[in-house]
């Protein structure tokens, strides 16, 4: 995992409500043999005129098809973004598209956790802050060490869990941290085996 770096760009607006992980990565592309990288199929039902990345032409209205947003590392997302299935391919393709930070008013719970495992930062902001960000036309910046989002004429700080922050900044995932707890795990299992023996001998 790459350590999280400060970001600055014109953010991609992905502001539909309740964007589900089936839209982000359609199941057909997860199991089939694809002609192109998975990220090319991200949002294909909305992104191409035929709803199919292989046969269709990019729709000029869809933000990911627009030049201004090329290479953007920040996206502004609608309510409950990433709801639905647990597939990690959803944050993975966003990562492949270059996104490192998603800013929205709420996220699907499983999706939210998955982002951190890939070194991505999901930020929850209030509806007011969201309204100001979507009204911006220029670039915005995200700085994790100071927990700040800033734009042309303003800035706000955001909350981030301290453990998640440290892992992102150091480029650590959970496995690396938990392996250090092996003695705790052993102690837990030993005590628990006596209390709930049936758990351990199915």
């Amino acid at each position: 995992m790459q350590p999280f770096e400060p970001l600055r760009c014109v953010p991609v607006p992905l502001l539909e409500k309740n964007v589900d992980t089936d839209i982000i990565t359609p199941m057909k592309r997860l199991t089939g043999r694809n002609a192109r990288p998975l990220a090319d199929y991200a949002f294909e039902a909305w992104r191409y005129d035929t709803g199919d990345a292989d046969s269709g032409q990019p729709l000029p209205d869809f933000p990911l098809n627009q030049e201004v947003y090329e290479g953007a590392a920040i996206a502004l997302t609608g309510e409950n973004f990433g709801c639905g299935s647990s597939r990690q391919s959803a944050p993975q393709v966003l990562h492949d598209l270059g996104l490192r930070c998603l800013i929205g008013t709420s996220f699907g719970d499983i999706f939210f956790n998955n982002c951190f495992q890939l070194g991505m930062l999901p930020v929850v902001v209030s509806a007011e802050v969201m309204a100001r960000l979507t009204a911006c036309t220029g670039a915005i910046s995200v700085e994790l060490t100071t927990q700040t989002i800033s734009w042309e004429d303003g800035s706000v700080t955001f909350d981030v869990n301290p453990m998640r922050k440290r892992c992102l900044l150091e480029g650590l995932d959970d496995i690396a941290l938990t392996l250090g707890h092996e003695p705790d795990i052993q102690a837990f299992q030993q005590a628990d085996r006596a209390k709930r023996p049936w758990v351990y001998m199915p």
Binding site: K17, N18, D20, D22, I23, P26, M27, K28, L30, T31, G32, R33, A45, W46, G51, D52, E79, N80, C83, G84, S85, S86, R87, Q88, P91, S106, F107, G108, D109, I110, N113, N114, Q117, L118, N161, P162, M163, R164, K165, R166, D173, D174, I175, L177, T178, L179, H181, E182, D184, I185, F188, Q189, D192, R196, P197, W198, V199, Y200, M201, P202
Partner: protein, 466 residues
């Protein structure tokens, strides 16, 4: 200060804390880890690439379900994705020493159907799986939720998971469900009335006399759609119905261990003075059969109510987009809407009682011309039990296809798509854009609504079905 009463969630959660981490995170022990064909082999491969081994293979169980073909008398290679992923799962499980309920065995099935069926899911256990409908297992009083691929690798390596305790949401259902109105209708009604964000950041506990009166299979249907409410976790406090369901199941404790387990399980329900962060009350007695009209489980309502008019809705653009995708005019009735496909199956509604209820309605009738109607049992055990009761003959005589167990058209990861533009009445749990295949149109409903509509060739109000 007087300590506050604890909820079911508190009790089960607290019993699994291995270590306190920063920022309110905790390291929790995982008692059962279920794997399936879509994610199993890739996760085991990723583990190997990090130079790690499965820490407790005896607590992991695997089955192929997502990518298996469900055509009658299926062969291995009949689903393209399965022909790669299933052999990979098989060899990875052998290498890691993980028990696999393979194709053709009496135990294979949708992972959320077989867990409870085999007694792998027990009250008070923590259970995870790389699939969002893992919340289903909460019906037995287990703490169960879906995780992503990195987390699957984490659990394989450490038998633990990093989590933060969610807030507590109680949904209290009271009253009796009307005739031919099922648990599926009740949970769709909750989602339609409260929205798909109600549960975000929460674990739901379903309570109230309606739930107490439900079988375990009905409780599983309720818990299954918790994720559609935004909640990773849904639970029901274990009671005598739970214990009776589990007694004698293959992987459930027996003899003296059963007695000891039972003692502990009886103390799991929340204390009388337990406090929830939020409580929602819902009356069950007025609920009508539900059918969704749009592309979110929240886009639903009583089958006899017309679809909304975007201009009059709270979210005009979203409503219009959903209706366009579904090929429906604003304000059009759902009743009488012709359907092309009917799918009775998925981890929501593919258990024996679901199939029995559906079979009862189709006896003596024929599926309408031009409708492709499938019944896909949730597991080999369900299939065999249904066949012992002759349900397969009732379905086949009516013109339904009786298929092999698996996820099938719920997500079509085995290539069993609903064709583009076709309308499918489905007992599954998601009606997202493209969920059952590119440009497929999904209406969610209960097994009885699906069965009766297959016969009628159009959406019907099952309360008035002959």
């Amino acid at each position: 200060m007087v300590p506050m009463g604890r909820t079911l969630l508190d009790k089960v959660w607290d019993a699994h804390v291995v270590a306190e981490l920063d920022g309110g995170y905790q390291l929790l022990h995982v008692d059962r880890h279920l794997l399936h064909d879509l994610g199993g082999a890739p996760a085991l491969r990723a583990l190997g690439q990090r130079g790690l081994r499965v820490r407790n293979p005896e607590l992991c169980f695997a089955t192929p379900d997502h990518c298996v073909a469900t055509s009658p008398g299926r062969g291995e290679g009949s689903a393209a994705a399965g022909s790669r992923l299933i052999p990979a799962l098989r060899s990875a499980c052998v290498e890691a020493g993980i028990r696999l309920f393979d194709l053709g065995s009496r135990d294979q099935g949708i992972v959320h159907v077989i867990g409870p069926e085999l007694g792998l899911t027990l009250p008070g256990l923590s259970l995870v799986c790389g699939d969002s409908h893992t919340c289903t297992h909460g019906a037995l009083g287990a703490l169960a939720w879906g995780i992503g691929t990195s987390e699957v690798v984490h659990v394989l390596a450490t038998q633990t998971i990093v989590e933060r305790k969610p807030a507590r949401l109680q949904v209290e259902f009271s009253g009796r469900l009307p005739v031919r109105v099922h648990a599926k209708d009740l949970i769709l009604h909750l989602i339609a009335s409260e929205g798909v964000e109600l549960g975000v950041g929460h674990a739901v506990e379903y309570a109230g006399d309606t739930v107490r009166g439900m079988s375990i299979e009905e409780r599983m249907t309720l818990c299954n759609l918790s994720i559609e409410l935004g909640a990773k976790i849904g639970m029901v406090a274990p009671d005598d119905v739970t214990f009776e369901y589990l007694s004698g199941r293959r992987y459930a404790p027996s003899g003296r261990e059963w007695d000891a387990a039972l003692d502990q399980w009886r103390s799991l329900p929340g204390d009388d003075d337990a406090v929830f962060d939020r409580t929602v009350h819902i009356r069950a007695d007025g609920v009508a059969p539900q059918v969704t009209w749009g592309t979110s489980p929240m886009h639903g309502g009583p089958v006899d109510r017309p679809v909304p008019d975007p201009a009059a809705s709270a979210d005009p653009a979203g409503t219009r987009a959903a209706l366009d995708y579904m090929g429906l005019a604003p304000g059009a009735p759902l009743l009488g809407l012709p359907v092309d496909c009917v799918f009775i199956g998925s981890c929501t509604n593919s258990r024996l009682s679901d199939l029995q209820a559906a079979a009862d309605l189709v006896r003596g009738h024929k599926v309408a011309d031009g409708v492709e109607a499938w019944v896909v049992p949730g597991s080999e055990a369900v299939k065999r039990a249904a066949e012992a009761l002759g349900l397969h003959r009732a379905f086949q005589a009516a013109g339904f296809e009786w298929r092999e167990p698996g996820c099938s058209r719920c997500v079509a990861s085995n290539g069993e798509y609903v064709p583009p533009g076709k309308r499918c009445l489905s007992t599954s749990n998601r009606n997202f854009v493209g969920r059952q295949g590119p440009r497929s149109r999904t209406h969610l409903a209960s097994p009885v609504t699906a069965a009766a509509s297959a016969i009628a060739g159009a959406i019907v109000d099952v309360r008035h079905w002959p």
